[in-house]
């Protein structure tokens, strides 16, 4: 159907903030690294964790859905976040959302599985660098110590006055993903840059 005008470039919620994030990263000399990871594919998945669809979807995605609360499972380019006892967020590289949705629907057959594309619902901020935890601790009430929130942990919580999903990446160097509702992204960016003042 893309038959008329040439496709215009996509605009992410923080496209206009990219420069400021880059400047903060540069002037902190790596103490904090901040960047938007735009357009990641995000699929909200709801199914009965004990039902047949859970295994079928896991096999189809080559990714067992995490059953332990507030953990993530990563396989290849896909990450599955536990959001609730019957709810996950699948995150993958830009553009694969439709393919993901189709694979899940095909695998689940007649089982009552809900699949919703939420790729644009939230954008993802990368918060990394040696001071990443300190930066987040200015506004996140969770205990982010590696003993409590090490690699493979995730949580839905608050940062500043915005709700976020927080993911501790696999290695310490990889930092955190902060997934935030697109409408709050500009606020949260302002908040993060303000909180980072001390480190830049």
């Amino acid at each position: 159907m893309a038959d008329t005008a040439p496709t215009a470039p996509l605009r992410s919620p923080l496209s206009h903030s990219a420069d400021r994030l880059a400047v903060a990263t540069r002037t902190s000399r790596g103490a904090v690294r901040l960047a938007e990871l735009p357009f990641l594919a995000q699929i909200n998945l709801r199914l009965d964790a004990k039902g047949a669809a859970a295994d079928a979807v896991g096999i189809a995605l080559d990714l067992p859905l995490p059953l332990e609360p507030n953990t993530v499972v990563r396989a290849g380019e896909l990450t599955a976040l536990w959001l609730g006892p019957d709810e996950w967020l699948l995150v993958g590289p830009p553009g694969i959302q439709r393919d993901l949705e189709n694979r899940i629907r095909a695998a689940s057959g007649d089982e009552p599985v809900s699949v919703t594309d939420v790729s644009a619902q939230r954008t993802t901020l990368l918060v990394a660098g040696p001071h990443a935890r300190d930066l987040l601790a200015h506004g996140c009430p969770l205990d982010l110590h590696p003993r409590a929130f090490g690699p493979g942990r995730c949580a839905q919580t608050t940062l500043g006055r915005a709700q976020i999903m927080l993911v501790a990446r696999d290695e310490a160097r990889a930092g955190f993903w902060v997934l935030v509702r697109s409408s709050f992204a500009a606020y949260l960016t302002d908040w993060l840059l303000d909180a980072a003042t001390e480190y830049v």
Binding site: M1, A2, D3, T4, A5, P6, A8, L10, R11, P13, H16, F39, R46, P69, N70, L83, G84, P85, D86, E87, P112, S114, V115, T116, D117, V118, S119, A120, Q121, R122, A137, H138, G139, C140, P141, D143, H145, A148, A155, Q156, T157, T158, G160, R161, A162, Q163, R181, S182, S183, F184, A186, Y187, L188, D190, W191, D194, A195, T197, E198, V200
Partner: protein, 1073 residues
């Protein structure tokens, strides 16, 4: 901040949860079978017990699961949490109460041996007896103390320049310069001097003028810096008139053990825990560790040693200059760290000046020490009267003599050490006046040092104006035998008050310890232990042992192995019991001050008890004793003692006033942190926000959203702009960013059943590809939200909500699904930001859309009203809906927000030939009001049914039940005089009725109470009608159509005519273009 354990996510801050009321109140199986009374009981009545109560909670900011909790409503303890659908578990009584005091034998431990006075620990830098006077600082010792004499600092006080040293406080630097008066008292204007050396200071509360003005800081807590300008105050400060340029911030911290106070007990506690691997925070209000040891000059080598251990321990965080000021539920403590104040103008701009630490601690050890208490004797407020241990601290810590000729007035042993240290430093201590008839071994030591000890004596009066000149002494409670001593310093010690503020804030109970003559911590249900002199123990050896034991116990309880760090051998000092004295008889008429900061005297308290007040809480309010910014740290227990004597009761029966946070004043700027200015409240914006800004939109706040309000052109005012925008929508084409509407994806085989239960109208009959307007009500039948429902597939719907209610509607859906209808196979997911929505409105909208969506058949038969289509608009995948909130031919185009700007700009371009006009919320409101469409929350207020809105058509009569249905049969909802939504036309078409205007029946305002018929909910000027109009909720309004009512506006009664709410195009002819 409670810590609530989500059954799925574990413990989280209370702020992540929503409260849902009493649990286990199921929705009745057959609501129609209930009597009105039974239904009302279900609707409106809930239990309200004192004690355990089963409640619903939702982990709203987390996993969105509803669960149940048993909470003790008296203590806020959460006794159990369990998942929805599970049985309520049995819960015992209240949680365990732990003894707050370290369980160490009160007798000296083995390692301490009783030693004679000659082995008393000497201050490390004990100055020679004659070594007073540094150039320009006449009361500064040549050597000794912890100030750095190589770093002089210039400062100004009351216009006079002075010099002090790094390590001084403003108070110690003033004393070094011979300045002791630091203000005048608030009510009586009496000169007042530096009274203490710490946070308890009641007198020397000063104004900082530069570098940044700040009122009411105790000079004893202001670290001296170069360029400091301060002035004395008459008991009251001045707020800065300019904005504070400094940054403030906050940090969340978590630990296994928080130790508050870095004195001997706190350091011993933290030393025991430091190498265990446990996460430990040590917070202390001073710039260096040591606490009271800094003032006594004892064990400073050990302090350095412990500091080095802490430095080397990776999991130990030491917070200096940090005052823990609040102790809240579940071991949540707030502290303020003063990070750059002491740097003055050299403070770096990018570092926050002060920081609030929000600490969640598994265990807490409070080693908060004790404050010395004063005595209520005649003229006890002259500059030169000073707490004994504070004078000792000035000598030992700051190398400053607070005076030259001193008298000591005490009821206990502790002042003797001060007298001896001052003597050693060169102060002429003339006499020690002890109320005790037999002061014991310490008196012998004093006499050995050449000091006269007057046992069984008391100070009965003082002389001096700007500074003390003489002290009168007499045998205690006897009129004869007066002696007068020349003195410029009077050291006072009336005993010690354990600093129990934080413990008390934690919910801990205090009891009066007769032997120690003070209120001491007793029990608390939080995981806290009190150690050291905060328990009333003053002996250093026992203080150290207490602290070490408390620290070890705390981390053991958290599964770590303590390591005993060296505890220094300390001589056990001889002890003679203190004497409990509060009021000292003195010369008649001479004031005996209890609260120096509030100028409250013994006589004032006597007036309070004379007026019949029997509680210290009441005498406090009557006299203001204890209400100043020192919160009665030196006066509180003294006031209790005085009131007890006045009432003739024992102080133990009277108790203390309640301790509340903050322990010391905390500025609003600090508490606000970075939540001010633009970050005060999140601003939510759509993908098109920047276009609106660039095109001059003014914005309206709708919840946290910024929505374009109107787009003024060429200096238009709002009225002109809105009339222009309305005209474009009715006559040509206009477009609006409608992305803020809430959107919820409802999926699952039972989605239709679910929506049938939640909406008043039928959704299961909606065909795929079609849209239906729906109304959602609460159980009481009152309208809660409205919006459209699109059927995407047999098992999938897209529900829209009002902008402000999106989260509430999703919560509502989840509550029903999770707690009442778990059998329904339905899932709800917010997709509000997954879609950007553009409303394209007006008779020419079809041409504009048709030009951009060549594959879409836009004619009325192919694409009828209330249908939706998937198509491509300017090459962008879109869901186009034919819905209208204006009565005009209109479309809503939904696309990915990533492509919204492309769509918007294409519409702007394609619509240009038709004069396409962007419009904002004000125009939207006018257009919908002309059609009588209500805005939920503006034309409704939670007391309005769909029938009241004239929307009986939206309430299904076929469905067996839905949320709210039973309430429509209640007598109250079928009253004929319920308020109905109607239109109002002022008889003068130019008269504008302000929203909220009341309506009355008569043309003459009757005497109050005036019978009100209703009020205006919306009011506008209409371009289409060429006049003003309003919507209003009026009693029996539909039966009044055509009647004349009156609206009091200012002092006029404006005649208005009641009309149908649908004022424009009542036939609906314009809908299809």
């Amino acid at each position: 901040m409670l810590l609530i354990s989500c059954p799925w996510c574990g413990p989280r801050d209370e702020a992540e949860f929503h409260y849902g009321g009493q649990a286990h109140v199921p929705y009745p199986e057959d609501s129609a079978a209930l009597t009105d009374e039974e239904w009302a009981r279900y609707l409106f009545f809930r239990d309200n017990p004192k004690g355990p109560f089963a409640e619903r909670w939702s982990h709203a900011a987390g996993c969105r699961r509803w669960f149940n909790a048993v909470r003790n409503t008296a203590t806020n303890e959460i006794l159990a949490v369990y998942r929805a659908g599970e049985e309520r578990p049995s819960t015992g009584g209240p949680g365990p109460v732990t003894s707050a005091r370290a369980e160490v034998e009160d007798e000296p431990e083995g390692r301490s041996t009783s030693t004679g006075p000659q082995q008393r620990t000497k201050p490390r830098h004990a100055p020679g007896p004659t070594a007073a006077g540094v150039a320009g600082q006449p009361f500064r010792l040549q050597a000794g103390g912890r100030v750095d004499r190589t770093e002089p600092l210039s400062f100004t006080f009351d216009g006079t320049p002075y010099e002090g040293f790094r390590g001084d406080t403003l108070a110690s630097a003033l004393l070094a310069n011979g300045v002791i008066q630091a203000g005048t008292s608030i009510k009586l204007g009496r000169p007042r001097g530096i009274f203490s050396a710490g946070v308890e200071e009641p007198n020397a509360v000063v104004q900082i003028e530069a570098p940044f003005p700040e009122p009411m800081l105790p000079a004893t807590t202001v670290e001296l810096y170069d360029g400091l300008v301060a002035s004395s105050l008459p008991g009251q400060g001045r707020l800065a008139t300019e904005p504070d340029p400094a940054r403030y911030d906050a940090v969340h911290a978590h630990c296994d053990l928080l130790v508050v106070g870095a004195g001997p007990a706190g350091l011993a506690a933290v030393a025991a825990a430091a190498r265990s691997g446990a996460r430990v925070i040590l917070a202390d209000d001073q710039p260096e560790l040591g606490g009271s040891l800094l003032g006594t000059g004892e064990l400073l080598d050990w302090v350095d040693e412990v500091a080095a251990v802490l430095e080397a321990a990776p999991e130990v965080r030491v917070l200096r200059r940090t005052t823990v000021f609040g102790y809240y539920d579940d071991n949540h403590l707030l502290a303020v760290e003063r990070r750059t104040n002491h740097l003055g103008a050299a403070a770096p701009e990018n570092v926050s000046r002060e920081r609030v630490w929000r600490i969640r601690a598994r265990r807490v050890v409070l080693a908060t020490g004790a404050h010395e208490r004063s005595l209520a004797f005649a003229d006890n407020d002259r500059p030169g009267v000073m707490l004994a241990a504070s004078a000792r601290a000035y000598v030992n810590r700051h190398g400053v003599l607070p005076g030259r000729h001193a008298v000591v007035f005490t009821t206990n042993d502790s002042a003797y050490a001060a007298a001896l240290d001052l003597t050693a430093a060169g102060v002429d201590v003339t006499a020690i006046v002890d109320t005790r008839p037999e002061p014991g071994e310490w008196a012998e030591r004093a006499r050995d040092a050449g000091i006269e000890v007057l046992a069984g004596h008391a100070v009965t009066g003082t002389e001096g104006d700007a500074r003390l000149t003489a002290v009168t002494v007499a045998p205690y409670e006897q009129p004869a035998g007066q002696r007068k001593f020349t003195a410029d310093l009077l050291l006072v010690s009336g005993g010690w008050n354990p600093v129990a503020h934080l413990f008390s804030q934690a919910g801990g109970k205090l009891h009066h310890d007769e032997a120690r003559g003070s209120f001491v911590p007793d029990t608390c249900r939080q995981a806290v232990e009190v150690a050291g002199s905060a328990t009333g123990v003053l002996d250093l050896a026992r203080v150290l042992a207490h602290g070490a034991a408390a620290g070890a116990r705390a981390i053991e309880a958290e599964g770590y192995s303590p390591e005993t760090h060296r505890i220094p051998d300390v001589a056990v000092q001889p002890q003679t019991p203190p004497m409990q004295v509060f009021v000292v008889p003195g010369a008649p008429g001479a004031p005996r001050f209890v609260d120096l900061q509030r100028d409250v005297t013994v006589d004032d308290l006597a007036r309070a008890t004379g007026a019949g007040l029997r509680s210290v809480e009441h005498t406090k309010r009557y006299t203001t004793a204890g209400t100043a910014n020192d919160q009665g740290k030196t006066s509180g227990v003294l006031a209790s003692g005085v009131v007890a004597e006045l009432l003739g009761v024992d102080i133990s029966a009277l108790g203390t006033t309640t301790f509340r946070p903050p322990y010391t004043p905390v500025s609003f700027a600090t508490l606000a942190g970075r939540d001010r200015g633009a970050l005060h409240d999140p601003i939510r914006v759509t993908a098109l926000h920047e276009w609106h800004v660039a095109h001059g939109a003014l914005f309206e706040n709708v919840g946290q959203w910024k929505r374009p309000w109107y787009y003024p052109q060429d200096g238009e005012d709002m009225e002109a702009a809105v009339l222009r925008e309305c005209r474009a929508a009715r006559e040509g084409v206009a477009f609006m960013d409608a992305s803020t509407l809430g959107k919820i994806d409802v999926q699952g085989p039972d989605a239709a059943v679910f929506l049938d239960r939640l909406y008043t109208n039928m959704m299961s009959t909606l065909k795929v590809g079609m849209i239906r307007y729906g109304v959602m009500c609460r159980l009481d039948g009152m309208v809660f939200d409205d919006g459209t429902v699109m059927r995407l597939a047999e098992d999938r719907f897209l529900v829209t909500t009002t902008t402000g209610n999106a989260a509430a509607v999703l919560d509502w859906m989840e509550e029903w699904l999770q707690t009442e209808w778990p059998e329904l196979r339905v899932h709800c997911t917010s997709v509000t930001e997954q879609w950007a929505t553009v409303a394209l409105v007006g008779p020419r909208s079809r041409e504009v859309l048709g030009a951009l969506a060549p594959a879409l058949a836009v004619d009325n038969d192919s694409f009828p009203f209330m249908a939706w289509r998937e198509t491509s608009v300017v090459g962008i995948e879109a869901r186009v809906c034919r819905i209208s909130f204006s009565g005009e031919l209109a479309y809503e185009i939904n696309v990915s927000p990533w492509e919204a700007l492309t769509l918007w700009e294409a519409l702007y371009e394609a619509g240009a030939p038709y004069g396409i006009t962007p419009y904002g919320t004000e125009t939207m409101h006018v257009l919908r009001a002309e059609k009588g469409y209500p805005i939920i929350g503006q034309d409704t207020d939670g007391t309005v049914t769909p029938h009241d809105l004239g929307m009986s058509w939206a309430v299904s009569k076929k469905k067996r039940d839905f949320v709210g249905k039973r309430s429509y049969a209640r007598a109250d909802t079928v009253r004929p005089d319920r308020k109905h939504l109607v239109g109002l036309l002022p008889e003068d078409p130019g008269t504008f009725l302000p929203e909220g205007t009341h309506l009355i029946a008569d043309s003459v305002l009757p005497a109050p109470p005036v019978p009100m018929l209703g009020h205006v909910t919306s009011s506008y000027r209409s371009a289409a009608l060429g006049r003003t109009f309003a919507l209003a909720l009026i009693k029996g309004g539909r039966e009044r159509i055509g009647e004349r009512l009156y609206a009091p506006v200012g002092d006029r009664l404006v005649p208005v005519t009641v009309a149908s709410p649908v004022l424009y195009d009542p036939e609906g002819a314009r809908r299809d273009g």
